[in-house]
Amino acid sequence: MTSPAQAPPALVVRGFTKRYEAFVAVQDLAFEARAGEILGLVGPNGAGKTSTLRSIAGVLPVASGVISVCGHDLALAEQAAKRCLRWIPDDPQPFEALTIDEHLEFTAALYGCANWRPQADELLARFELSEKRDALGGELSRGMRQKLAMCCAWLGAPQLVLLDEPLSGLDPRGIRAAKQAILELAARGAAVILSSHLLELIEALASRLLILDRGRCVFVGTLDEARAAFPAQQRGSLEEIFFAATGGGSAPQA
């Protein structure tokens, strides 16, 4: 398998700008995510992370700029692009009236996943949902909703997975399973964009970083490149780099 650096880009974003009426949420954003890579998306509240992810997912219309998913321009070949990607919002809402099992059945049909049952069983076991497969979406706790969303996103062979705060509501076992699953997903060749305020998580999983601040990209590259870009943080953690990049002052001393 080729290394992420040599792999073709699963996602290309060029000149992307998102406005909400007069407010500019994201301005002139450009980055790539390659197959097999985990791109950590970080930034303060209101930096434009969720707007960026929702636009890539096709949830928000792209008025300005180009977003290309697996070679498909989101503006010109929206459905082909969407077939390659999965999107988990920060608070996934399952269908109230569908069982967990039926969510997977539905997702398999929606994305045309053949022979999905063994993989679904394996995912349910991994996320400790096997016993709950007949539970309805409306009966699930926050953590279970998150686990179900992951099972659905992992089903089939997605080439690009967008995760917005994926560990919210998970218990320690769920967190461990989710981290492992994200790493395995990337190892299988999917590009993962991981947005989180948990900088330790990003530092542990991400191979590259994208730091947004007030809608602008202030850094994109590896952690080592970040240390080089912010000379005062030569040996700094991601937290210290984050504060240096976003102008929030220095991190509190441990």
Binding site: A57, L60, K82, F95, L98, L110, Y111, G112, D134, G137
Partner: protein
């Protein structure tokens, strides 16, 4: 005062100020002002209907004071029964879901929260009581007495409802300790059945009181003389007496009594020390779900999905592809959340079909009756069995990420509802025609036309919803704007459908009226043109629906 009453009063003041600030802000924008105008017209028209005096003499003048009192007592008792039935659904104390955690965790005594709730109940019921008072004015010989008596009575009933909610919440907590899951639904049904049986026994089967065999006046007289009913209605007497009073000498003692009853009820409820927390949390969550449904234009019922036996499988009616998957998800929702609604709709359709078919004396009449069933069924069932984009407002973000053209998502989401409604309507039409021996090839054409008409109506309804997705519900901001918006959108929907039906029917009418065509020929032309127009409209509405879905701005959630 203790237990945080000062804080509660401050909160009430701030909420009151906040309410008016939000109303004022809505009027600052052009859109808010524009939508408020038709809303205000509606309110004025509605208020005028109550306030403008009727040319007919007041009911009290025709009935006499004694019977007027009896009638008002019966009406108030009926209203109280409805209020009590509601209290069964909302036990404990209602506090909005967004506030309940904060208020329960705050250093406020439980009676302080009850007093806060009572203050809000009084304010809200006062608005309703103004209309109740106006209605009472029209019954009374002396309008002012009627208004005052009616106003106090309506406020009192609201206070009673809150008191009963608290008592039921407390009782449920105690019963819950004995029975882990009290069958509240069963108990409520049993209570309603007992009340109905009692009323039936008293009113219909009683020897001297049947409204079916005697005049309403005699019936009212019978009620006022029946000892048991007299005892049951006694608490309402001061209110009824105040409304029906013909002089100040009659009015003031009765009104004083009514105000004293209201004050005593208020004091009793406000001093309540019931621990309502668990039931209040459940009530609050339930109401939040209902309000969310109502804000999407859905009824308050059918909130909770029910598990089906594991052997029940939701059918994949539209294939196993992505289109079928979306329809499958919708079908599951209908099966699990809407069984009561479906059963009720079937009962109504069965009743209408039966009624329509009873009046068919000649085979030719059967087509008129079938058209009646088709028209009523299409209109009523598409309103009663709404399983459409209103349910998907929380999912529209996810739906937009699905790998399907938006028109296909639009069509797949609505397909199960269209199929369900069409099946019911066509079954009704088939019953009417079969009873008259008129089932032939024309039935197939009519069934197809019904399916297309249902598709167009459901599509128009959803296009309008996607273009303007908010709906009014109790507690929503912008009452005037929502009323205005509902009026305008309702007119837009109806006019569009009217235009479609007119375009579909026009060629056959032209054939009959201008060319004097034979009936069969006109039917042939009419059927062909109607199907062509309806088909074209169905295709166009799906395309338009896809456009509306694609342009739906999910960022409005922000």
């Amino acid at each position: 005062m203790n237990g945080g009453d000062a804080a509660v009063r401050l909160l009430l003041r701030l909420k009151w100020r906040g309410f008016w600030r939000r109303q004022a802000r809505r009027l600052r924008t052009g859109k808010g002002l524009l939508l408020a105008l038709p809303g205000a017209l509606l309110v004025v028209w509605w208020g005028a209907a109550f306030l403008i005096p009727s040319e007919r003499s007041p009911l009290a003048a025709r009935l006499g004071p004694e019977l007027t009192e009896g009638l008002i007592q019966v009406l108030l008792a009926g209203l109280t029964l409805v209020t009590f039935a509601n209290a069964f659904s909302f036990r404990g104390l209602y506090i909005p879901a967004s506030e309940i955690e904060t208020l329960f965790a705050a250093p406020l005594s439980r009676p302080a929260l009850v007093r806060m709730r009572m203050a809000i109940t009084l304010l809200r019921s006062a608005v309703g009581a103004v209309f109740g008072g106006c209605a009472a004015m029209r019954l009374a010989s002396e309008p002012l007495f009627g208004f005052a008596g009616g106003f106090v009575a309506f406020v009192w009933i609201a206070v009673l409802g809150q008191g009963l909610s608290l008592l039921l919440g407390s009782a449920e907590n105690r019963v819950a300790a004995l029975f882990a899951k009290a069958p509240v639904g069963l108990l409520r049904s049993a209570g309603i059945a007992c009340t109905a049986a009692l009323l039936y026994g008293l009113i219909v089967e009683g020897p001297d009181m049947s409204p079916l065999t005697r005049s309403p006046l005699d019936w009212l007289r019978g009620i006022s003389q029946a000892p048991l009913l007299g005892a049951l209605l006694a608490p309402f007497w001061p209110f009824a007496r105040a409304v029906a009073a013909t002089s100040a000498a009659e009015f003031w003692p009765a009104f004083g009594g009514a105000v004293a009853i209201l004050g005593a009820s208020l004091a009793a409820v406000a001093q309540s020390t019931v621990d309502y927390r668990e039931t209040a949390l459940a009530t609050s969550a339930e109401l939040a779900r209902r309000l969310a449904r109502m804000r999407r234009g859905l009824g308050a019922g059918g909130v909770q999905a029910k598990r089906l036996p594991l052997s029940w499988r939701t059918p994949w009616l539209f294939g196993r592809g992505p289109f079928g998957a979306i329809a499958f998800a919708k079908s599951a929702s209908i099966l699990r959340k809407a069984r009561a609604g479906v059963v009720f709709a079937v009962m109504v359709m069965a009743a209408v079909t039966f009624f329509a078919s009873r009046h068919v004396e000649r085979p030719a009449d059967a087509w008129g009756a079938a058209a009646l069933v088709a028209g009523f069924g299409t209109f009523y069932l598409t309103l009663g069995l709404r399983y459409d984009f209103r349910e998907e407002l929380d999912h529209l973000g996810a739906i937009r990420a699905w790998p399907l053209a938006s028109w296909r998502i639009f069509a797949a989401t609505l397909a199960p509802q269209v199929l369900l409604v069409s099946l019911f309507v066509d079954a009704g039409v088939a019953f009417v025609l079969a009873r008259a021996g008129e089932i032939d090839a024309r039935f197939a054409l009519l069934a197809l036309a019904v399916t297309l008409a249902v598709s167009v109506w459901v599509a128009i309804d959803n296009i309008v919803f996607l273009l303007a997705p908010t709906r009014s519900a109790p507690g929503n901001d912008g009452v005037l704007q929502n009323a205005g918006r509902s009026l305008l959108l309702g007119m837009l929907r109806s006019l569009t459908m009217l235009a479609v039906v007119a375009a579909a029917a026009a060629p056959s009418l032209v054939a009959i009226q201008i060319f004097g065509a034979e009936l069969d020929f006109a039917f042939g032309i009419g059927a062909a043109s109607a199907l062509a127009v309806l088909g074209a409209c169905a295709v166009a509405s799906v395309a338009l629906g896809g456009w509306a879905l694609a342009r739906f701005d999910v960022s409005r959630e922000r």
